[in-house]
């Protein structure tokens, strides 16, 4: 291989591309935009790991309350921190209450001056929310005066909602509220090794990446072949003046190289724009600072090298079957029939690579990442290889129909390859998405569990730390807008011996008769009664302790250490049968009506309130949260859901949706660009057809058929491959194969909708191109 000759020819091709006049510039621009979109998506993908790492680093840097730390002695460099995070309209708000122990107390990252009691500093997004009408209810919950803004170093994203407020007397709550601690610095000093990935989740991540990136690669390969027909004529002219066929191909590759290089430039610009845009967008509670989105240099270099190299390679491969003669390009004649065997080989080898891993998910075994990626890639590449054969074979058998159909079918028969190329991207995306949907639907049960909560009895609960009277708490919630039922329970423990000497510990639940009936079947009940509960799981202490005349000891309140309160088990102790409480738990121990609780024991009880919510009252949960914050800032309200899902499972699914949206947008844009490119090349012919009276409707329909036929075939093929891949992936995860037809049809419908949208969008330019002006030559 003569490097000088190669570079000379490639450079000549680049020059041809740049000096092709208006026509050439338009073609170059289209290629550049097409490749640029793909490059931008590749760069964004390579930037995701860095963005996630940057978010993690910020999160680590502000770590304060952990369960593993030992007690930190009070000093002038320590600070008390309480977790007062809350939720508003479904969005999580990170909240901290701080009280410095001395002048050298550390400040949280992003906070330059610690707020005094009654003051708070907030993130810009929270400041905006509090100032808006939408944040009115939240302002009631956070009434402190805003004295500053939290800087970027204290936030994981620009849209994050964070506040830090000044606190008072936090020391007294260190032991009563779990979320209060004394620390001498922020940041995770003992970072826990990250939890190893579940093999099935890892498999999902790998497949998501492959499925999202494959269509981008396919599209880039298509974009560098824009303008093929006109280029062929130019190449023929080059042959006429003496360039040999290899040289001509290299010159053609040089032209594609110019488009790819321009695409890299456009891609960088698109990426920078998207990065900037990412700073102002929040998707599923994830926002990132533009600076987080910086691709790893190695991957960026890889993109910069691989894209132009792929452009050259694809052109050389594409021109292999084309004979460029001095008087024209012999491409318009019927091409040689495509062979099926090697096209089938790709998916078969892909399946063979995945086959050894069938059933491994169930054994907690590890999947071989290379085999998974290779197998999925080969199966999906198989779609792109099989599709041209399928399109060619089917359209060759299509009969004549109306003129629009005839025009479309004949065009497809002549250039089935370019039609297939056009829909390859979407076929790969749909095949991958169907497989992933199947995998997600099948594996969902492994990562979703029934929360056990009975939503027909209550929809929210609030834990209130000890120190407040149960009556007061219940009254406050009863008076809250949107609350239609309140079941207030208190909990504490009764022990066989006082203080730390206790060996047998039994749960004590305090509530009025109506509320106690929510946790146990009571024979009869009036204030002053005490019950012993049978039928709870893991409760061996109670039968021992529930003996008449035995003295039991209640814990003293943490903030007023005094003598433990003793209580003698009465002979009137009634028996009750445990039933599921609203959280789905079966309580054991003793049930006390309020006046039966011995004096001195009430200080040690913490409260839990179950609330029935009137769904017709707007913002009822927010009113509840406001009341909870007013009752005790460290109370923990929570809204119930009937199922709970693994966070990682959810975030992978989120990733798939975000990625699929980007890829479908890209594919839609690419389809439109290549459709316009094809129409532009046929402008003169379209004008001539209109000149001799062809109806515009006929030509529009013909364009629709030309897209619809390959798309229909592409979708049918992608359904087949997608279902096969989905079945294999499910078998790998040892989950029974069930086809989720709703998602299969919805993914297929989504693909079809993209095509329809593209066809509709290409109609205005088509109508413009059909103007007789196209016949003008001067």
């Amino acid at each position: 291989m003569n490097v000088r000759q190669w570079s000379r020819d490639l450079a000549l091709g680049v020059r041809f591309a740049l000096t092709g006049g208006r026509e050439g510039w338009v073609r170059l621009l289209l290629t550049g935009v097409g490749v640029g979109l793909g490059v931008a998506l590749l760069l964004l993908t390579t930037a995701i790991p860095n963005a996630l790492a940057a978010r993690d680093a910020r999160e680590d840097a502000r770590t304060d309350i952990t369960f593993s730390w030992e007690d930190v002695p009070k000093g002038d460099d320590t600070i008390l921190v309480a977790n007062v995070s809350t939720t508003y309209h479904g969005a999580n708000i990170r909240g901290r209450e701080v009280e410095p122990d001395g002048p050298h107390a550390p400040a949280p990252p992003g906070v330059s001056k610690l707020p005094a009691p009654g003051e708070m500093v907030v993130s810009p997004a929270l400041e905006e929310l509090l100032a808006s009408g939408e944040g009115r209810l939240l302002r009631e919950r956070l009434p402190e005066r805003i004295v500053g803004t939290i800087g970027e170093s204290g936030l994981v994203g620009p849209a994050e909602l964070v506040f830090v407020r000044g606190g008072e007397d936090l020391e007294s709550r260190i032991d009563t509220a779990a979320a209060v601690a004394r620390i001498d610095g922020f940041g995770d000093r003992e970072p826990q090794p990250s939890e190893p990935w579940d093999p099935v989740l890892l498999l999902m991540v790998l497949v998501v990446f492959v499925v999202l990136l494959m269509p981008v690669g396919v599209f880039i390969a298509t974009a560098v072949r824009f303008g093929g027909e006109r280029r062929d004529r130019r190449l023929a002219a080059l042959r006429l003046i003496g360039s040999d066929s290899r040289m001509t191909r290299r010159i053609a590759a040089g032209e594609a190289l110019a488009g790819a290089l321009l695409g890299l430039l456009f891609g960088a610009v698109f990426f920078l724009l998207a990065r900037q845009l990412a700073g102002s967008v929040e998707l599923l509670e994830i926002s990132v600072y533009p600076s987080y989105l910086s691709p790893s240099p190695l991957l960026a270099v890889l993109v910069a090298v691989a894209v132009p190299a792929a452009a050259v390679l694809v052109t050389l491969l594409a021109l292999r079957g084309v004979v460029i003669e001095p008087l024209g390009v012999v491409r318009l004649s019927r091409p040689a029939r495509r062979r099926l065997w090697w096209r089938l080989l790709l998916p078969v080898v892909g399946l063979a690579m995945l086959a050894p891993m069938i059933g491994q998910g169930g054994d907690d075994g590890n999947f071989n990442q290379y085999l998974v990626t290779g197998g999925v890639v080969l199966l999906l590449v198989g779609v792109t290889a099989l599709l041209p054969w399928v399109v060619e074979t089917v359209v060759a058998r299509l009969g004549a129909g109306p003129v629009s159909w005839q025009l479309a079918v004949r065009r497809l028969q002549v250039s089935s390859g370019s039609a297939a190329r056009m829909v390859n991207g979407i076929a790969v995306a749909v095949a991958g998405a169907i497989a992933l949907q199947m995998l997600f639907a099948g594996a969902e049960s492994q990562y979703t569990r029934d929360s056990g909560k009975d939503l027909s009895r209550a929809q929210m609960s609030v834990r209130v730390p000890e120190g407040t009277a149960l009556d007061t708490v219940a009254e406050e919630f009863r008076a809250t807008e949107g609350v239609d039922a309140v079941y207030a329970l208190s909990s504490t423990y009764a022990n066989d011996r006082p203080g730390d000497e206790a060996e047998l510990i039994s749960e004590v639940t305090v509530g009025d008769c109506r509320t106690l009936r929510e946790v146990a079947a009571l024979p009869s009940c009036q204030d002053g009664d005490v019950f012993v509960v049978n039928g709870a799981a893991y409760d061996e202490a109670t039968p021992e302790l529930a003996k008449a005349g035995r003295t039991l000891w209640f814990d003293a309140a943490q903030d007023s250490p005094g003598e433990p309160t003793g209580w003698t088990v009465p002979g009137t102790l009634k028996e009750a049968q445990s039933v599921d409480d609203p959280t789905g738990m079966r309580r054991g121990g003793f049930l006390f009506t309020p006046s039966a609780l011995p004096e001195g024991a009430e200080g040690a009880v913490s409260h839990e309130v179950f609330l029935g919510i009137d769904r017709s009252v707007p913002d009822a949960p927010e009113h509840v949260r406001n009341t909870a914050a007013a009752v005790d800032p460290y109370s923990e309200p929570s809204q119930w859901a009937s199922v709970e899902r693994s966070e990682r499972f959810d975030s992978i699914r989120t990733g798939l949706f975000v990625g699929a949206a980007c890829v479908l947008f890209l594919i839609g844009a690419s389809l439109l660009v290549s459709q316009l490119e094809q129409l532009r090349e046929r402008r003169k012919l379209l004008s001539a057809l209109v000149a001799f009276g062809t109806r515009r409707r006929t030509l529009s329909l013909s364009v629709l058929w030309q897209t619809a036929v390959p798309i229909a075939l592409g979708l049918a093929l992608s359904m087949t491959v997608g279902l096969a891949l989905g079945a294999v992936l499910l078998k790998m995860t040892a989950v029974p194969v069930v086809v989720d037809w709703v998602s299969v049809w919805s993914m297929t419908g989504f693909g079809a909708a993209v095509v329809l949208a593209v066809t509709l969008l290409s109609l205005p330019p088509l109508l413009r191109l059909m103007r007789p002006d196209g016949l003008r030559t001067e």
Binding site: R411, F692, G693, T694, P772
Partner: protein, 233 residues
């Protein structure tokens, strides 16, 4: 269109005082034209003189900025786009410099296309197409695609396509412009013979005197203005 004039007696297609500009470029600046049934009129002039624009206006492809065009007693300006399209489909035929055949259709399908656009069944349209292909000596190419035939053969296929609907007016824009002289002359012979046999009027745009020699009359267009020339024999 503002100006109107009485068409010459017996004329099939008449244009009077046509003006047309593309942006700052004036293509027609008061051109007039008329043609009788069965007549072959050559429109001559240098490149950029406005002859193709005149042809496009006469065929109802382009609407002039002012002036009037009358076809068979009907003012073209009163027709809407679909009426003009219908007229082009049924009454007019077209031959362009590069044939402009649909590359993916076979030659016979290309010739049959105007009939199919008019609603004729495929079988019938292809039968009629073959008859015309025989007359133009290209029936041997019926199954071939335009990319597989020579320029002269393709142009004869294009002439067959233009005549297959038995048009009353045939518009030919530089029909031999892309052919060598031998092929060009053969195409012109066949075109004019076929047109005369069906009494079709032919508007022939050319800048070649040897092509214009096939016409009955010449109109010269220069700087957007037209002038009738007497044939000097």
């Amino acid at each position: 269109m503002t100006a109107t004039a009485t068409p010459p007696a017996g004329s099939l297609l008449t244009a009077h005082d046509l003006r047309k500009a593309y942006g700052p470029t004036t293509a027609l600046d008061g051109a007039s034209f008329s043609i009788h049934p069965g007549e072959v009129v050559a429109v001559m002039g240098p490149s950029g003189s406005g002859k193709s624009t005149l042809l496009h206006c006469l065929a109802g492809i382009v609407t002039p900025d002012s002036g009037s065009i009358t076809y068979s007693g009907r003012e073209m300006a009163t027709m809407n786009d679909s009426q003009r399209s219908a007229l082009r489909r049924s009454e007019f035929g077209f031959v362009f410099q590069f044939g402009q055949l649909v590359p993916e259709l076979t030659c016979v399908e290309n010739v049959a296309l105007p009939l199919r656009l008019n609603g004729t069944s495929r079988k019938e349209a292809e039968r009629a197409a073959l008859t015309w292909m025989e007359r133009l000596e290209v029936d041997g190419l019926k199954g071939k695609r335009p990319g597989e035939v020579s320029g002269g053969q393709g142009q004869r296929v294009a002439v067959a396509r233009a005549l297959v609907t038995n048009p009353r007016v045939l518009f030919a824009d530089e029909p031999t412009g892309a052919l060598d002289s031998l092929n060009g002359e053969r195409v012109m012979e066949l075109l004019t013979e076929a047109a005369r046999s069906t009494n079709a009027a032919v508007v022939l745009v050319t800048h070649e005197a040897r092509v214009a020699a096939y016409s009955d009359r010449e109109v010269v267009v220069r700087d957007g203005k037209s002038r009738d020339m007497e044939r000097i024999v």
